[in-house]
Symmetry: D2
Subunit: 385 residues, 4 copies
């Protein structure tokens, strides 16, 4: 099966840089591209070394309406952030043989019921930077509503560049009730469709399969993409890991191992997915695991495998003999890892407020949430338990 | 309690850089200091930003006997690696207000029953570099045998620099059966004693307390230090996480949250520990959590808190109202995080081969383990289950 | 809502008497009705006292083809067993105000592909005893194939007595792929339909709801019944708890508490189910919990509540003050009980051999499984893991 | 090892009969001996059939001070209850070849700080019935305070009958801080000492071993006995399962399997324990498992094994081939049973009020706890969490 080309994506920057100290959980905005370029550059390099074929610009939530939102004090304009992100991605892409993808994502304007024109204008502004900076292709990702994703694709397609569009939905469909099988693009030329974020690899691959069935049923063709979480989420409802009580600060026990990742890569490949990457929670070693699993198909190992023995074989050089005895695929594939947390459950009951676009609670505001608003939210939350 | 000075340590480089692609699990050697200085420099910077007062040179297992061990192809001499590590630590320390500590750790020579003189010569070689590079103080860490730690301290003390010495033992004592309460230094001037690695924070703090009781019972005084794992290990035996079946590639579900870390910082402080840091598994956000917990005592927050709201307060700016409702200490302190792994247990049975220094299986060799040796190990391991 | 009549069923005899020492797991046949009448009588009495309105004859698997099956040495004829079971049920029913139901269940003959006439003759033989012994109504229960259940109902209906028919299927339908919504009886007069065994209460209530929707969609009416397991089975596939690796000797950690049972009673009642009872795993206190939960609707508590304070109120008389503090509904409803088994997972992977009626492995034989057959089975099982 | 005689005890009546509807949780008194003799007789018979060599009179908490305690409305005098219990035990013992043991347990009088004479008078009154009814030996069981146990033994020894004395303590010792190793009887002739209730088999065997070491260190000899819970309690503190939040109504997930019981029997035997039985949670099949495990040493299987294939061999006759594949020791010994409860933890934090004899909260009263007292307790309990 060497014939089919496989693209290895990169991992999510927002969560990785939050742990490194450069992104603030809550706003999740990417001003670090301009503020701390060496940290962003280093993460790009690690993903490149791990095997990523794509350097996605660190422009998640870098639309002007988001940057202004909720009291963020801006030391940099949206344009500066987007430009810096493009420069960093290009710099590192050139160190290897990777492509640069300019990325847009869902907007507060859509959630706050702004018009189609207003929302499209937001995307256009980021796009102008991407065009100026000569990105190789475009990604519209992290859309909870199919409608907004379509608007984004329409804007991005005006450039003539290839466009990848991924929704952050699961098998139950988007927040307006559109099912994965209904996500059939009217014009699939130069289009990659798929899923990113919100769910674990197993769920994302399942959802992409449902999309693929819908597209094929309609007699169309497309390329497929999955960039799931690196967190196990068997207990999620339709809104994904956002609703889990552990989001975003206690997700640690859910982090996938490298062996879970190899399983994901194989399943995604078998499902006919071409563009296989990751989102929140992915660290460089997770991407390397994808590249190692698919090395037979791709014909080569990533640079980072210099520091990794396949299936644990590096342990042959460990000090302790019983750890050397773990230097084999069989051991790691079968192991059911313990959590070390005997007072914790294995699954959680997700929140389920069931509100979406149009609901007053979801109108986005520029000011920080006031103490009165927070108090009202705490009470609502406690009542729900 | 502003009066007592607190030192915040850094996190373990070996595991953090393994995930980033620059250290190989198995040999665990630090050639990246010379090979990939930008990756090592970036990690130093992240710990500095997170609040670390100490930049420890990335010289773990950088003794010549270890570097030669088990077939490692050396592009760099031990001297080059140790020098590069000192330069990187100093460079970043100067960007803030941190000290540089030169570090040595246990040697294959001791495990292979070499003489006291031979082992001491190994330490001396690393020490010569540290002296030349003007480190501020010295750390002898990760010793499973008290005897070897004492040899190391004797060598390090010849410099007149302050010395910190940490064992990787738990409440049951070292591999020769020496209990924590018996670890009383004969000369405690300019000496910091404590525990690092192998066990979770709870266990390490408990073990340091036992050491403290022993020291105080002997009518002596000392300074105390703890640099535990960032993994929950309630199920370990005397050899720590090495013996857990998940070591080293499936430890993810055991990773501590930032809230677990705040609890650790408070408990360590209450136990009278002055030097509070971390070892394997610690990421920059874990160190930041220590610094945030102890901010009232230290009088300031770390630079990295610019991107972190205390106790989740950054969530006030999250898009979803039910996530904003999590912006409170009460929520995160009480949460019992689920593993998302319903087919996995909460505890594991550790391996327990019960061999230590002197046993033939523990003689270290330069050559990689042969297939015949591996086969014999696999069989031994399978019989044990 | 006093208007609607509720029938409280009894619990499963086979599992309860296995634990008491009178039924052999494997054959699961009810010869104890003739062999150890005092044990069977006592269990009837306990269910009566717990609130059961029905004494079901202990005639599960008491068809001649089953009794002969697999090497069972018969000290009693099928007729003797069926007669003794009727006498015991009637004796105890008369001690209270309960009805007697004669019960038939699926046959080895059907599994072994015997003809409709042959299978019906099997049912007829048991039925003759029930008629002779004047049972009040009939139950055809524990059918994995809708077709066989229909044959049984046709036979039982010839008596003119009311008939209850329950399948042991889940939401995925029967082993031939017939879905719950398709289980619409052609003639629903004097017919109660529902689900028993194989799944936990939550799953059974859900499946009965699907049956009800099917019946109502067809413009028909029926009465509904559920007699689930007293074991939690969220991890089952279509064949239910038989496929769980813990079946039948390690199901203990899955046993429902009395509070789980009260929840079941309320959910079954709210779903419009009239006949609410139990199957394998139910002990008398489980049935009492159903009767206590529905006491407001039924207007009275069962006799057995003499020895039980509602929602734990009996603890008011406990020696220890902190146990007295548990004498409240709120405490027991919210408690998430620990398993005390930190090395065990919370869910299991069920076996899934996927064979059903017609497959050679399922042909039933009179002789005990031979060592060669067993060896072949062990190998098949091990390969599957 | 046929030489050593082994006594198989019976299981706890209080919990078994609570589930059958004849004992009230909270007071836990045994009036059923007089009120529902057929239920008590049947349980005796099941234990006899399962292999018990001893029929212990159902006289737990049948002292007059306990029966009067906390508002119990008495239809029977203490004497009537004790006499009825003796008659039932003797009747069933004679059906086989078992001994009758008259049993006393700790008293509210001791907890309420009555004098030694007053407490001894309480024991004397039960003893008079036992002597009149000609029991074969005596058991003083379920003592949390060594002092009270000694008083009981002194009273019982006046009869000249053999006496067995068991404490309900763990490795941490009794509620006054007396350690297991200190429980050395001054006169061990005709004395059996050991542990019952409060902890799981593993813990009880460990505690008996500590007692044995103490006795042997003192140069004495004794016979040993263990009658543990049938609940896993790895998370208990010194007061045992009483303190677990699941006590007494949500202990189901902790129930031991028959295979856990075989392991217990073997460990108890290897520890040199002669009298191996059970307490709360034990059902007849648990006792049968003890007798089956020790059948090689005792030379015979119990009557109840007629309905049980050793190590699951009865499954050879199961309908489904994959269940037949489980008819082997290897399968059941290795299985880690799932709880089917993914939202529940594996361990609990026990209550720890830390009050014992002498504390006002522990003074026992005849009246039921008043609503005001309960409210105060609820508040105390909630504060503790």
């Amino acid at each position: 099966m060497r014939g089919r080309s496989i693209v290895i994506g990169d991992g999510g920057f927002v969560f990785a840089l939050e742990k490194r100290g450069y992104v603030k959980a809550g706003p999740w905005t990417p001003e670090a591209a301009a503020e701390y370029p060496e940290a962003v550059r280093q993460l790009h390099r690690e993903f490149l070394r791990a095997g990523s074929n794509v350097m996605q610009t660190f422009t998640f939530y870098a639309s002007d309406d988001k940057l202004e939102n909720r009291g963020h004090t801006q030391r940099f304009t949206g344009e500066q952030i987007n430009e810096a992100a493009c420069d960093l991605a290009r710099e590192v892409a050139n160190e290897g043989d990777a492509l640069v993808a300019g990325g847009v994502s869902q907007t507060p304007s859509y959630l706050s019921c702004k018009s189609e024109d207003q929302v499209k204008a937001i995307f256009k502004k980021q796009l102008d930077v991407f065009v100026k900076k000569n990105v190789d292709f475009l990604i519209a990702e992290y859309f909870e509503h199919v409608e907004e994703a379509e608007w984004a694709v329409q804007v991005l397609k005006t450039t003539g560049l290839p466009v990848a569009a991924t929704l952050c939905i699961g098998p139950e469909g988007d927040l307006n009730g559109v099912s994965p099988g209904e996500c059939v693009p009217s014009d699939s030329s130069k289009l990659i469709v798929g899923i990113n974020c919100h769910f674990d690899p197993e769920t994302c691959v399942k959802t992409v399969k449902m999309m693929k069935e819908g597209v094929e049923k309609a007699g169309l063709k497309a390329h497929y993409m999955s960039q799931p979480l690196a967190y196990h989420t068997p207990d999620c409802n339709c809104q994904g890991f956002i609703d889990l009580p552990e989001f975003p600060f206690s997700l640690e026990p859910r982090i996938l191992t490298r062996w879970d990742m190899q399983k994901y890569a194989r399943e995604a490949y078998n499902a006919g997915i071409h563009y296989i990457g990751g989102c929140c929670g992915f660290e460089p070693y997770h991407i390397r695991a994808l590249a190692e699993e698919l090395a037979p198909e791709r014909g080569f190992l990533p640079a980072g495998s210099e520091k990794h023995g396949t299936w644990g074989s590096g342990l042959e050089m460990h000090t302790k003999p019983w750890v050397r005895a773990r230097a084999r695929r069989d051991y790691w594939e079968k192991l059911k890892p313990a959590s070390g947390r005997p007072y914790c459950p294995s699954l959680s009951m997700p929140d389920g407020w069931g509100v979406t676009k149009g609901h007053a609670d979801l109108m986005q505001q520029k000011e920080a949430t006031s103490p009165e608003q927070l108090k009202a939210l705490f009470e609502k939350a406690n009542k729900g338990h």
